[in-house]
């Protein structure tokens, strides 16, 4: 079934526009950024927004707009790598657990209970503190904790699908359990996990920028929104633009992802 | 004798994706004091919507027109405050699914008491005593303990008794019963029906009984009105309608119920399914399923017209229907 433009829910359309624009900026930052994001201009320290620098300059004379644009590359990458590993491990483990049921399901249930008892951010921060700060370690930490949520969604969904006729038919035709799980059950169970993935991307950006702000994620002088906000936090009264504009980028991107998530959920609901 | 309730030209439409659909289409009927009126029809015929429209309980996106005269006052034009006095006080309602109509998170006592609080001047002690009395009235043993329990701790039949107790709390003059026995086991059904009839006699109230079960109508009702696709297609005293249906639809309905004391004959059944809300056919809504249908039926919608024996029918071919009788065709 194809959707005509009018039928696309408004949140999906708006979110799609926001994220589409974000992706373009993320892939071609140099095309849009007027300056080099790390070039320091000591003749233009802490300049307020002007025609030359629409978002002003920071305390090193770097152009804030160019840094915000270049940060799209990093932050969109966080949205992707911060979720894709959780998603991949989660759906595989969830499918296996859902199919196997019984003891595997019980053990999995305990793991879920254990993980949700820890504040997500605290656990991620604790893991990053063991591994050391940096983006790669942050991705590892997110994957270590995040897969549980995807697995829980898929396991529940597979348990439902397993009882339907076509799964029996697959078994009756002599397909191996693996084939039944990954060719038949998983594709039918995956939509809610994909909706969650989109919403999770918004969370990953919030979390990635938070760790950047705390100095545990992307490391300066990399242009990343959280890092930029941290850079400007001591100049809020004298140079608000250093921190405020990167924050706007976070809000818009996070909003984009969560609108797409809401829109997708709406489309799926009305189709049912 | 003046009717207790007079429904005139009641119509209910829903806003359904822009184009309104009509669930109840210009129906009129009377309920006499102490009378049990059966409102019969298949699901989707508009019986339940009729009851809820009378009480103005329809959701916001629907529109109700017409008038419902209750003791000289029109329920449709009353203020909310006036309506609250009637609702649950003079006119009570019981629902099909006691499992969903009782609030699962409140003890039964609270749900009975809130009716008493709204419609009586009883003190707390008086209300407590009345709660016990009501539980006895509807035949729930061990009332004192059961009042503190929650709906999920009752069986289906007992829950329906609770709902009846709530409905009767303030001695209503009219009970609107929306398929009160459909969700129950057959043996429990009989008990609940008997209870409602006994209470009708005891409290001298009128009852409008919505059901799709003709057996229930035969056992409980004085008069009946048959609904099809939002309209009343036939009405009259129960014995008369059962003896001689004037509308092809009624004939089909009666023919699909096995009757005792008649010759063995093949059961009539009605081919097809009733039309959905959005796909009502032109002319008489029943014509696609009717063996008596002619071009006239496909073109024009018949009005409800008085017939013999206090009956009325909305059918161009009542005479042919009567002539065909109830034997299998």
């Amino acid at each position: 079934m194809t959707l005509s433009l009018r039928q696309i829910p408004r949140p999906l359309l708006l979110g799609g526009l926001l994220i589409g624009a974000s992706l373009v900026l993320a892939v071609f930052p140099a095309t849009f950024a007027p300056y080099d994001p790390v070039a320091m201009d000591y003749n233009a320290l802490m300049h307020a927004p002007s025609w030359a620098h629409p978002m002003g300059t920071d305390n090193f004379g770097r152009d804030v707009l160019s840094r915000v644009i270049h940060a799209y590359t990093i932050d969109m990458q966080i949205a992707f790598f911060g979720t894709i590993f959780s998603f991949s491990f989660g759906i595989v483990i969830g499918a296996l657990v859902g199919y196997a049921g019984g003891l595997a399901d019980t053990i999995f249930g305990r793991i879920v209970d254990a993980v949700i008892t820890f504040p997500f951010l605290v656990l991620v921060i604790a893991i990053v503190s063991v591994l050391g700060p940096g983006l790669v370690n942050m991705y590892v930490a997110l994957a270590v904790v995040g897969w549980v949520f995807y697995a829980r969604i898929i396991a529940a969904e597979v348990k439902v699908q397993k009882r339907l006729d076509y799964a029996d038919a697959g078994r009756a035709m002599g397909y191996t359990p693996m084939r039944v799980i990954f060719r038949h059950l998983l594709p039918n169970a995956i939509t809610p996990a994909i909706v969650y993935l989109v919403t999770d991307m918004a969370l990953a950006i919030l979390l990635g920028s938070s760790l950047g702000y705390l100095g545990l994620g992307a490391q300066p002088p990399t242009a990343e929104w959280g890092v930029q906000i941290a850079d400007g936090k001591n100049f809020m009264t004298t140079g608000w633009w250093i921190s405020v504009f990167p924050g706007v980028a976070i809000v818009l991107t996070g909003l984009g992802f969560s609108l797409i998530g809401d829109g997708l959920a709406e489309v799926l609901r009305t189709r049912k | 004798m003046t009717p207790a309730l007079q429904v005139r030209h009641l119509s209910t439409t829903f806003g359904h994706h822009g184009t309104p659909v009509t669930a109840v289409d210009d129906i009129s009927f009377d309920v006499m004091p102490g009378e049990v009126l059966g409102l019969v029809g298949e699901s989707g015929s508009g019986k339940s919507v009729t009851l809820r429209s009378i009480m103005r309980l329809m959701p916001h996106h629907s529109a109700v027109t017409g008038s419902v005269l209750w003791q000289g006052c029109d329920l449709m034009t009353m203020t909310e405050a006036e309506l609250r006095r009637v609702r649950g006080g003079e006119i009570s309602m019981i629902f099909q699914e006691p499992g969903t109509a009782l609030n699962p998170v409140l003890p039964v006592r609270v749900q009975i008491e809130e009716n008493l609080r709204a419609h009586t001047e009883l003190s707390a002690a008086g209300r407590a005593a009345r709660c016990l009395e009501l539980m006895d009235l509807v035949g729930i043993p061990d009332a004192k303990r059961r009042l503190t329990q929650y709906p999920h701790q009752f069986s289906g039949g007992m829950r329906q008794r609770v709902m009846i107790a709530i409905a009767l709390a303030s001695n209503p003059k009219l009970l609107l019963a929306d398929e009160p026995t459909t969700a129950l086991d057959v043996t429990i059904q009989d008990q609940i029906l008997k209870l409602i009839l006994d209470l009708r006699d005891e409290l001298a109230m009128s009852v409008v009984f919505v059901t799709h079960d003709l057996g229930v109508v035969a056992a409980t009702c004085d008069r009946m009105a048959v609904m099809y696709a939002g309209r009343i297609v036939e009405s009259g005293p129960v014995p008369a309608v059962f003896a001689q249906p004037n509308h092809a639809y009624t004939r089909g309905l009666l023919g699909s119920v096995p009757r005792s004391g008649t010759e063995r004959s093949p059961l009539l059944s009605i081919e097809g399914t009733p039309p959905g809300l959005t796909s009502r056919p032109a002319g008489c809504a029943f014509h696609p399923r009717c063996a008596f249908a002619t071009d006239l039926c496909r073109r024009e919608s018949p009005a409800l017209q008085d017939r013999a024996a206090g009956q009325a029918a909305a059918c161009f071919h009542s005479d042919r229907v009567i002539a065909a009788g109830l034997a299998g065709s």
């Binding site: 254990a114 063991v130 976070i250 996070g254 | 609030n103």
Partner: protein, 310 residues
């Protein structure tokens, strides 16, 4: 009810045990190792051996686990490397601050979410609904450190209505100092709760038992409070419980932004200072707080919904 309470209390035991296991696994089995995290890459072998010994990392894993359990059981979570104080003492000092911040934020989010959810649900698809949902949608996408920084600058530094940091000395001062941080934390939770509660209210308003209640002729206020709100709150309460983890995570950041001497701030400082035992102890303490909250919200849920407490 009391039986449910007891059973739920017993269920806390395995949860607490799991918390210990996860914390233990976190330290020993992850690819990084705390010793080099503490000492940095250019540490002397002798120092590495000493720290390894201090942390018990030179024993076999099962032995370490037994020692770890024994230490926890005797209330010994090790000593802070930088502050030279027992971790338990630090928890006792700092955790109450974080708990107070979180409780304030939770209350504020309820105060915001419940009335607005009612307005949004009852004025569904009207202007008020769109405005409330739009505002919260943006609030939900706003990271706490950013919102905190802006509020701190505007209401603390610029307008001077609130202190720009610290915790104060009396209960009244605590509340005054924590007002902005708690509001910062509350906004995103309020957004989540409002959304859930709005959907729940819309569902409940159309429920048969609400129609039946209306058919009894009782006052609309009674219907809303007794029939609609109570039922709608049930799902929101469990969501609220599940969100406390997020709230505590947010508290860690908020405390850093507002310079509040709480557990979260200490945890971040300890990470910078590579004070490993403190990070471990705080992680454990925060998880215990969450599991106790789960317990409390379950009890509230059972109180709201008698079907749960069977």
């Amino acid at each position: 009810m009391s039986l449910f309470f007891l059973r739920r209390l017993i269920q806390l035991i395995p949860t607490l045990a799991f918390i210990l296991v996860v914390v233990f696994v976190l330290v020993r089995l992850l690819p990084g190792d705390p010793t080099s995290a503490i000492l940095g890459d250019r540490a002397l072998d002798a120092d590495v051996a000493r720290i390894n010994h201090d942390l018990g990392l030179d024993r076999s894993i099962p032995v370490q686990f037994v020692l770890f359990l024994k230490a926890v059981a005797t209330g010994n979570l090790g000593n802070s490397i930088t502050l030279k104080l027992p971790v338990t003492t630090l928890i006792a000092q700092r955790l109450p601050v974080t708990v107070m911040l979180t409780v304030m934020a939770a209350l504020m989010s309820l105060v915001m979410a419940v009335p607005l959810a009612f307005v949004a649900a009852l004025r569904r698809d009207e202007l008020a609904d769109s405005a409330i949902r739009g505002t919260f949608q943006v609030g939900l996408s706003m990271p706490v450190f950013y919102l905190g920084l802006i509020l701190l600058t505007v209401f603390g530094a610029r307008l001077g209505w609130f202190p720009v940091g610290g915790y104060g000395d009396s209960f009244g001062e605590h509340i005054y100092h924590l007002f902005l941080p708690a509001f910062t934390l509350a906004l995103s939770l309020a957004a989540i709760l409002m959304r859930n509660l709005r959907a729940a209210i819309i569902g409940v308003v159309g429920a048969e038992y609400v129609v039946f209640a209306r058919s009894k002729g009782i006052m609309p206020g009674v219907i809303l409070m007794r029939h609609v709100l109570r039922s709608a709150l049930i799902s929101t309460v469990s969501l609220f419980g599940l969100s406390v983890g997020t709230l505590l995570g947010g508290a860690v950041i908020t405390e850093t932004v507002f310079a509040i001497p709480g557990a979260g701030r200490l945890m971040i400082d300890s990470i910078y200072g590579r004070d490993y035992p403190v990070v471990q102890g705080m992680t454990m303490a925060l998880a215990v707080v969450v599991s106790l909250t789960f317990f409390l919200t379950d009890v509230v849920e059972a109180w709201l919904d008698p079907r749960v407490a069977r």
